[in-house]
């Protein structure tokens, strides 16, 4: 009995960690989607780029500076993606946009392979490796960093969108770009900002998670696709939805891996996702079509 409780707890910890990452990336995905209606499937690559550049920077500068550098670098990469990829393809059809962002994904992988090669990389945990024991289950301190980061980001973004002029301007663009531009909002700058922020958020996710899961040049794509799934599961564009969707997918995966078979982890998660979509075609929080 006790053992089964500790096992469940252990699984929940794993699920929450993965879920936090999905949620963070999905929030970045929503950010771009809301302003541009572009589903940026290269979002997961920001996680990989953030993690690997932080690992590199750390060899030269202290950890906090390295992290700041990595977040800035990937935010700039996000800006570059907007400038060189999506601005020229303005108004493209959905299949073309999906292909373009997937091609960008492959481009980032190709570039990362040249820079970092094909080895797995990792960072030491931020605050020691001493596991915390709760009811027989063990919790690595890094998990708290991951969950804490998500919660802080979610709160900060909520404040940004509700309390600041810039945030309100961005919401205006999401609602109606034409009307927003008539109100004197520079829509172009909002698009740029959304890409930069989503790049930074992805990098942050990569940095906090790389001490737990190793990363290599092709670790990003599946994370990005799952974040896309999470964003849709929670209702496209909704950040509370992204949080809930992220934790749901993370927990489902962990439960499937723990109680059924770790081999069928992805299949279980996506079967449930399909079931949700078939019952509620616009996601849990989505407005009906």
């Amino acid at each position: 009995m006790e053992q089964s409780l500790s096992q469940l707890l252990q699984i929940v910890f794993a699920g929450i960690t993965a879920g936090s990452i999905y949620a963070l990336v999905a929030i970045g995905f929503n950010m771009v989607y809301n302003v541009t209606r572009i589903p940026n499937l290269a979002q997961g690559e920001f996680v990989m780029l953030g993690a690997l550049s932080a690992v590199s920077f750390k060899t030269w500068v202290p950890m906090p500076v390295a992290f700041l550098g990595a977040v800035t670098t990937v935010a700039l990469i996000g800006l570059a993606q907007e400038r060189f990829l999506l601005r020229p393809a303005r108004g493209a059809s959905l299949p073309n946009l999906i292909i373009l962002t997937l091609a960008a994904s492959l481009f980032f992988e190709g570039a990362a392979f040249l820079v970092w090669g094909g080895d797995y990389k990792s960072l030491p945990p931020f605050s020691g490796n001493e596991p915390i024991r709760i009811l027989g289950a063990t919790l690595v301190p890094q998990t708290l960093w991951v969950v804490g980061t998500v919660l802080v980001v979610a709160l900060a973004l909520w404040l940004f969108f509700e309390k600041t002029i810039l945030g309100k301007a961005m919401r205006g663009c999401a609602e109606n770009p034409l009307a927003a531009s008539l109100m004197g909002i520079e829509v172009k700058n909002m698009v740029r900002l959304s890409f930069a922020v989503s790049g930074g958020l992805g990098a942050l996710a990569g940095i906090v998670v790389v001490p737990i899961t190793f990363m290599e040049y092709d670790s990003g794509m599946l994370v990005g696709l799952k974040a896309f799934a999470v964003a849709i599961l929670g209702g496209l564009g909704s950040n509370p939805g992204a949080l809930l969707g992220g934790f749901t997918l993370g927990l489902l995966e962990a439960l499937g891996a723990g109680y059924v078979s770790s081999e069928y982890k992805d299949a279980i998660a996506f079967v449930i996702l399909l079931a949700v979509l078939f019952i509620r075609p616009s996601g849990i929080f989505g407005r009906s079509q």
Partner: protein
């Protein structure tokens, strides 16, 4: 314009429609006499196999406008079922292909009914989920599929005593199928069904208001494309004698959509052109080694940005520009209107 010119126009339109098929048929007939090296013959076979799946997907994506990333799953169904049944149970390949087609249609029907009620991103995601499930199963059902290392030693395709064991035999088999399927697809596209698909692509609500059974038409395209993909998978397994989870995965699905976008959506010929470009690109850039992925993806990005309607679309625009440069009235609009890419365009 008089009646005569209208008839002329109809004849010309019909000729134009089948001219490509004629060129294709000639190409297939001439290819064996060219003395192409064996290695290039092999690539030509693979291009044909991919073209088969891509033409099917073109009916669904190019004409009916429904984006599916699930078709690698059907390709994989064909490959694995053909591989397992002919290798372990020694069932004649031709019979197995029949079984594969039935299985693909049955599965497409069961999956398609809930799936095709979804739209745009939701459809893309659901089909993405399907392909990830299929990839997962292909790896995990090790006893059947051989796991990550795949299913080796699949016997060659055969019909009665005729065993296909040279590249040229496969070339003739595969490209005859491509020719037949392209002919059928063009006819479907030009018929009432094809017009219904295009109407759905342009505006689903308007299409249903015109009395089109939107769901049934979508399902029809989905079934045909699933069958084509599974047939291509069977041929692939017999030809290469090995089938691995890579052939079922998301990247394979992306490849199929890429072929269409590159070649030109909703043109049938575009599917063939796109398959050729996408399979030849890595061969051309092979010398780049580590830079391979970088250059491949860059070429794709440049193509999609600069020629958004694909090679077929770009060629048509070129022909139209040349024509209109001549001192005679511009091409009548009815030749062009139904081929314009419509739908899915969204204001940014």
């Amino acid at each position: 314009m008089g009646r005569g010119s209208a008839v002329n126009r109809a004849v010309r339109a019909r000729l134009g429609k089948y001219l490509g098929l004629l060129v294709l048929a000639l190409g297939i007939a001439v290819f064996p006499t060219l003395g192409v090296p064996n290695y290039l013959q092999g690539i030509a076979v693979l291009i044909g196999i991919y073209a088969l799946a891509a033409i099917g997907l073109d009916l669904l994506l190019g004409y009916a406008g429904q984006l599916s990333l699930a078709h690698a799953a059907f390709f994989g169904l064909g490959g694995y079922v053909s591989g397992i049944l002919t290798r372990q149970y020694h069932i004649p390949p031709l019979l197995v292909v029949g079984l594969v087609l039935c299985a693909a249609l049955a599965i497409a029907l069961v999956v398609g009914i809930p799936l095709l009620r979804l739209q745009e991103h939701y459809l893309a995601l659901a089909t993405l989920g399907l392909v990830l499930i299929a990839e997962n199963l292909a790896v995990a059902l090790r006893a059947w599929t051989g796991g990550l290392s795949g299913l080796p030693g699949i016997p060659p395709f055969s019909v009665g005593d005729l065993v296909f064991n040279s590249n040229m035999q496969y070339f003739i088999l595969v490209w005859s199928l491509v020719l037949i399927f392209a002919f059928l697809a063009l006819n479907m596209a030009g018929s009432q069904v094809g017009r219904a698909w295009r109407a759905i692509h342009a505006d689903e609500l308007a299409a249903s208001a015109m009395g089109i059974d939107v769901f049934r038409r979508k399902l029809q395209a989905f079934l045909i494309s699933a069958a084509a993909a599974s047939l291509a998978g069977s041929l692939y397994a017999h030809y290469l004698a090995i089938f691995t989870p890579k052939n079922v995965g998301l990247l394979m699905s992306i490849d199929l959509v890429l072929m269409l976008v590159l070649g030109g959506l909703g043109t049938v010929y575009g599917a063939i052109l796109g398959a050729a470009v996408l399979k030849l690109l890595p061969e051309i850039f092979e010398f780049l080694k580590d830079y391979h992925l970088l250059v491949d993806s860059m070429v794709l990005i440049l193509l999609v940005i600069n020629v958004p309607d694909g090679i077929a679309g770009g060629m048509r625009r070129l022909v139209m520009r040349l024509r209109s440069a001549r001192p005679r009235p511009a091409a009548p609009s009815n030749e062009v209107e139904n081929l314009e890419p419509t739908g899915n365009r969204r204001p940014v």
